[in-house]
Structures are given as C-alpha cells and as structure tokens.
C-alpha cells in the first residue's frame, strides 16, 4: 500500500515537472539560470500590474527569482541613475522612457546592447515591434531596449455632458475646440470644459501636439531651437488660453493623474492626454463616468493634425548587471508575444504588430478608441518632447514658458521670455554637437 502511494506520488511529480518543462519550452524559456535572483524596476502601469500577477509562472518555468519593484516614473529614473552610477550591480532589468532617456543612458553606458540576445530568436520576433519603436530604442543599428508601451495624444469626451450641451461627435479643429469649450464650460456648477496638464514640465508632451498644429516645433532639422518663432508663440498663447479659461482652478499643478481624476469624477467634459490611460477612465470601480467615455482624434490645427504617437516606455538591461542572461529570460517572457497580448487585454497599448492583429485585440479595446488609434497612427509625430541628451533640462525650460502662458502674461513679456528660453535651449543643443 505504502509503496503504491510513493509510486503514485513520484508519477504525479514527474508529470508536474514535465508539464512545467513543456510550458517553458513553448515560451522558449530556459532553466539554465535557475537559482539566480534578478531585480526588476519598472513604472507602474496596467501592463506591469499584469506582469506582476503572472510573475509566479515565470519563476516556476525558469527557476529564476524576481524581485519586482513598481514605482512612479520619476522615481524609476532616479533609481536607475543612482544604481547605474554606482556600477549597476544590483540593477538587472528596468523600464525607461526612450524619448527622454535613451540618448543619455546610451551615452552614459548604462544600457546593455541586446542584439546578440534576440538575433535568431524567431519566437521572440524582434521585427514584430513597430519600426518607429525599434528606431527610438536603438542607436546605429544596436538595440538597447525593447519597447512595450506606445501612446498617442487623443481627446477623451464625457458623452453625457456633450449630449446635454447639444453637441455631437468630437471637435475637429482648434476653432471647434474653442466653440465646444464655450458651450461645455459651466464653472458655477463645478464642471469645466477641459482637463489639460498645466504643470509646466509635465505639460510639455501634451503641448507638443498644439506646437506642431500651429506649424512650430522644439527645434528644426539643423538643430536650431525654435521656441521663439511666431508659430511657437501662437501655440503657447492658445495652450495658455485653454488652461486658463476652460480648466479647473489649480491647473498649474496638474499632471495627468489630476486631470484624469477630474474627468473620472465627471468634473471635466473633455480631456486631452494619452490613449494609454483609457483603462482608468473606463474602470467602473474608480470612475463615475465609466460608461460615458467617448474618444476623438486630436483636433486639426492650422498646420494639420499632429498628435504625437510615441514609444513611451521600454525595458532595458543594465550594463552592470551580473545576471544578464537571466535578465534577458525575463525580458523575453515579459514582452514576448503571449504576455504582450495579456497586457493589451489589461489595457496596455502594445508596440507589437502581432498583438494588434490578434483576435484578443478586436474585443479588448473599446471600438471607438480603436478607430481613433487607427486614425491617429498614420498622422502621429514620433516625439512629444525635445529629443536630445539634455532633454530633461530643455523640458523644464519649455515648461517654464507654458506656465507663463497659462498665467496669462502679456504678449511682449511672453515673446521676451521665449527669446530667453530659446537661447538656453540652443546652448544645450550646441553643447551636444
């Protein structure tokens, strides 16, 4: 009797071991690094929440222990910088913002080149990622990161308030946007027409859509700063007017979470920000307007429809990591095809073509949002901030201008401030040549 039990138990254990082995093989995961511990630092998002939930599966399949840490974006960046400067031994996998940090991190030697890891790996299929996303995470043909989150600037609408105001669809041009704002703004009842980032530094990305819409940009092809051109001034004045006249008080301190709160509390009729945050608006547990969310393409300016369409986040491996192979196993799993689809279902705007073409994608996204994304993709601009090594400081300088514009300083003062800001950005650009 006893012997039989032991035999049964052994059989069951072998079956379990075999089935685990089979699962690992499907995903192309290896047991070679079992017993190693890697640290993963990422920015909190719906995708990363999904990964955190499934991390046990990865640990079981590979035998690798994962110390997973999910922080706010600025904290991730701090942690990466401090750990990397100290040699980066205790930092294996981390999330970073390619548009803001790629150039600097590569220059500083903080990122491990990844080509040798994925070359020939057909299951991982690096070519499957959007070309623009691959470009922004590479330099001179070397890939330094694997993109996982893309986002576009779109319009969120509270359909109930829109209908009540007798409006239909979404505003198509800047003039229409102003008309809508006039009709929707109802501060006496605590409802504002628009929720828009007003905290200077944070506002730069959302401002970029308007800057391009008026025909301006942060700098031109020859790297001449262009933040004091008539187009840029016009865009600043327009953005300032929107924030000052149609947004809730305190707009100068608002980042995306604050504007999202106003929108989900039904206190803002429209909101302009990234599509990647839609899941917060439609979450019935957190949003009072979960079933009243509409979407629209970013309105067209005098120079065209110019929302950004960017790769916001990528996963990289630290060059100082002592467990690079184990780290790659994690990256391969986390942004592999299967996990990526799960992320999409959880609300992540993937950077993989196959994910968007999957059956799940057809039902995962709200239909109207999917249409807006498809319409935004071809016209989108690939950057939403000054793409340069000292992008951080340039962003602060531009943020300063946006703050001044929202505060409503006179046209002459704004021009003078813009001239000063432009010279400072030029100095940063020149230093990089």
């Amino acid at each position: 009797m006893k012997k039989r039990n032991v035999a049964l138990l052994t059989g069951a254990m072998m079956a379990t071991a075999l089935s685990v082995g089979a699962g690992a093989e499907d995903a192309g995961l290896s047991q070679d690094y079992a017993g190693q511990t890697i640290s993963v630092v990422v920015c909190n998002s719906s995708f990363m929440e999904e990964i955190q939930k499934d991390i046990g599966e990865f640990e079981e399949a590979t035998g690798i222990n994962v110390e997973f840490e999910s922080l706010q974006d600025a904290q991730v960046s701090n942690k990466v910088a401090v750990a990397s400067a100290a040699g980066g031994k205790d930092l294996d996998v981390f999330g970073y913002r390619p548009l803001q940090e790629s150039l600097l991190y590569i220059k500083n030697g903080w990122l491990e080149p990844l080509n040798t890891y994925f070359e020939g790996d057909t299951a991982f299929d690096y070519e499957d990622f959007f070309e623009s996303a691959r470009e922004i995470t590479s330099q001179d043909g070397t890939a330094y990161g694997i993109p996982y989150l893309t986002e576009r600037e779109i319009l969120y609408l509270n359909t109930e308030l829109v209908e009540k105001a007798g409006l239909e669809g979404s505003p198509k041009t800047y003039d229409e946007l102003l008309e809508w704002c006039d009709k929707l703004n109802d501060p006496d009842n605590g409802v504002y027409a628009l929720a828009l980032r007003g905290e200077g530094n944070a506002a730069v990305t959302q401002f970029s859509g308007f800057l391009r819409g008026f025909g301006g940009d942060f700098f031109d092809e020859d790297r001449n700063a262009t933040m004091n051109t008539p187009e840029a001034i016009e865009a600043l004045q327009f953005y300032g007017k929107l924030c000052r006249e149609y947004c809730a008080p305190g707009v100068l301190n608002m980042n995306w979470t604050e504007t999202m709160n106003l929108f989900t509390q039904g206190l803002a009729a429209m909101r302009i920000d990234c599509d990647s945050q839609y899941a917060f608006a439609t979450d019935p547990e957190a949003s009072l307007v979960a079933d009243k969310v509409g979407y629209g393409v970013f309105p067209e300016g005098p120079a065209g429809t110019t929302p950004f369409n960017v790769t916001a986040w990528a996963l990289g491996i630290g060059s100082g990591s002592e467990h690079k192979e184990a780290s790659w196993e994690f990256v391969k799993w986390a942004v592999g095809k299967d996990q990526d689809i799960k992320g999409l279902v959880a609300g992540n705007s993937s950077a993989r073509t196959s994910t968007w073409e999957s059956e799940e994608a057809k039902t995962a996204y709200p239909e109207q949002l999917a249409e807006v994304i498809n319409e935004s993709n071809p016209v989108g601009v690939a950057t939403d901030r000054p793409y340069m090594v000292d992008g951080g400081e340039a962003r602060t300088i531009i943020g300063e201008l946006i703050t001044a514009a929202i505060e409503g300083i006179s046209d002459e003062d704004l021009q003078a401030k813009a001239d000063g800001a432009n010279a400072r950005i030029q100095a940063l650009l020149d230093a990089e040549k």
Binding site: G109, W110, G198, G250, V251
Partner: protein, 294 residues
C-alpha cells in the same frame, strides 16, 4: 593588554563616533566638494572632468538660483517666527492646564509624528481648488476661494501654513518641557512682591525660558532651511519655479538633469549658508544668555 586599554581608553571609547563621523559626514562633504569642481553626468564611461569654478560661476549668474536662495531664507524666517510665537503662546497656555495633559499633548504631537510625504499628500487634497476642504470652508463662510498650491501668488504662503501646522508643536513641546523645569518658588516670591500675571510672564517666565526657546529656534531654523519632502510631495517646486528652494533646485539638477557637478556646487553653497546661520545664531544666543544672566 589591560595596560594598553587603560592607556588608550579615551580613543577606544570615542572611536565608533569618530569612524561614524568620518564615514558618514566628512567623506560625503569632501566628495561633494570635489564633485562641485567637476562636470559629471553620472556616466559609467565618461569620467569626471575638472572644470574649476565653472559650476559656481554658472550658479551665481543664474537668477533661478538667487530666487531659490531668497525663497529659502524668507521661508525659514517667516515660518520659524510664526511657529515660535504660536508655540510659546500655546505652551504658556498649556502650562496652566493641570488636567488631561497627556491627551492634550498627544493631540498636539500628531502633526509632528506623521510621515512628511503623507502630510504632503493630505494637504494637497485639502488645498485642491475644486474638491478640497480649504475652499469648501471658504465657500461656506462666503469668502472668495484661493488657488492655494495652484498659483505662483499663493503657493509660498500655502506651504508656510503646512510648515506651521506641522512644526509649531515641536516648539511648543520644547517650551513646555522648559516650563515644567522651572521651580514654583520664583513665581511665588514674585507674587508676594506684587507682580501681576503679565509681569510674571514677561519678566520671569520668558527670560528663564530663553535658552530653551533659543534652542528650539535653532533646531527649527536648520530644519526649515533644508525643507524638501513637503515641497517635493506637493508642488515639486512649481508652479513654474515659484516654490523651488535650494534643496529642490539641487535635487532637480542632480536627478532630473543629471548635472552632478552643478548640484554639488549648489549643496556646498547651501552648506555654507547653514553653517553661517548656525554660527551667527550661536554668537547671538551667547550674548542673549549673558544679558539675562547678569
């Protein structure tokens, strides 16, 4: 062995402290000083470059630095002055109360023991212009509302209010401890001599409490000069730069722009400011104490 221990006992007992100070105070300061003469972006493959005084020249010619400098000083002066007056007044009042003192003191202690970042988050909600408690109260009593942290005109005073709320209890507590240390006999003999309540406070209690009050002020001044967490968690220095103090400015230079040299130079300047304030204060304190003693 025992002889050796006996002979070197003064070194053996002080060694842990000396090692701690060397490792955790002296070394970081010297390292920061060295960095302040360099240009370094925290890079692993681009070494530090010696640039002499360039970082200091850049700082002193930048209006953003001078704004942050004066903001730091003003913030400290205003916040600590109000905290001292309020703290001493409340302590004098509480000194009179003999019942339920434990509960009352605990209630006053609460703001002080709360985590600063949590305090920041709570005040951010209180100050929210649309849904916050502060404007709700103003609306209820029919007063015009304010943008609080959301406008460069009001952000400075709004932050000072938080500081006062959080740190007045510390001044109060120190003074209260001082009061309980005073003997009753002085007051009784003064009363026998015909002193009234006001005279008791101004002529006897306050002079006797002067050393305690001055110590409380010194601790608060140093703390207020290096305020970081409350500002970082509520405004990160904004709107624009309107609530940026020297600490926030250094932080942004170091961890947002990765200008470690410039950030170090800023910290060295800041270090000197704190040092000068502390020395001036010590001199002043000695003078005041001598006056009351004589």
């Amino acid at each position: 062995m025992a002889k050796w221990v006996n002979k070197n006992i003064k070194w053996i007992f002080t060694a842990p402290t000396i090692i701690f100070i060397l490792l955790c105070v002296t070394y970081p300061i010297l390292y920061t000083l060295q960095l302040s003469f360099c240009e370094w972006g925290m890079s692993a493959n681009i070494p530090k470059k010696f640039v002499g005084l360039q970082n200091y020249i850049e700082i002193f010619s930048d209006s953003r630095f001078w704004d942050a400098f004066w903001r730091t000083i003003n913030y400290t002066l205003i916040a600590v002055a109000i905290e001292t007056i309020l703290g001493v007044a409340i302590a004098l009042l509480l000194g009179k109360i003999t019942r339920h003192t434990g509960i009352i003191r605990t209630v006053f202690l609460l703001p002080m023991v709360a985590t600063p970042v949590a305090v920041g988050m709570v005040w951010k909600l209180i100050y929210d212009p649309t849904i916050g408690l502060a404007n709700l109260i103003l609306r209820k009593v029919g007063l015009p509302t304010s943008a609080w942290l959301g406008s460069s005109d009001t952000v400075f005073s709004s932050l000072i209010i938080i500081d006062i709320w959080q740190w007045t209890p510390m001044v109060m507590l120190m003074v209260l401890a001082g009061i309980s240390g005073l003997g009753a006999d002085v007051f009784e003999s003064a009363k026998v001599d015909g002193a009234n309540e006001m005279q008791l406070i101004t002529r006897i209690q306050l002079p006797l409490l002067a050393p305690t009050i001055l110590m409380a002020i010194l601790l608060r001044v140093i703390d207020a000069l290096k305020t970081f967490d409350i500002i970082y968690s509520t405004t990160t220095g904004g709107p624009g730069y309107s609530s940026e103090n020297l600490n926030i400015l250094s932080y942004r230079n170091a961890f947002e722009y990765f200008y470690m040299g410039k950030a170090s130079a800023l910290l060295i300047v800041f270090f000197i400011v704190v040092l000068v304030v502390a020395i001036l204060y010590m001199l002043l304190k000695a003078r005041i104490e001598r006056r009351y003693e004589s």
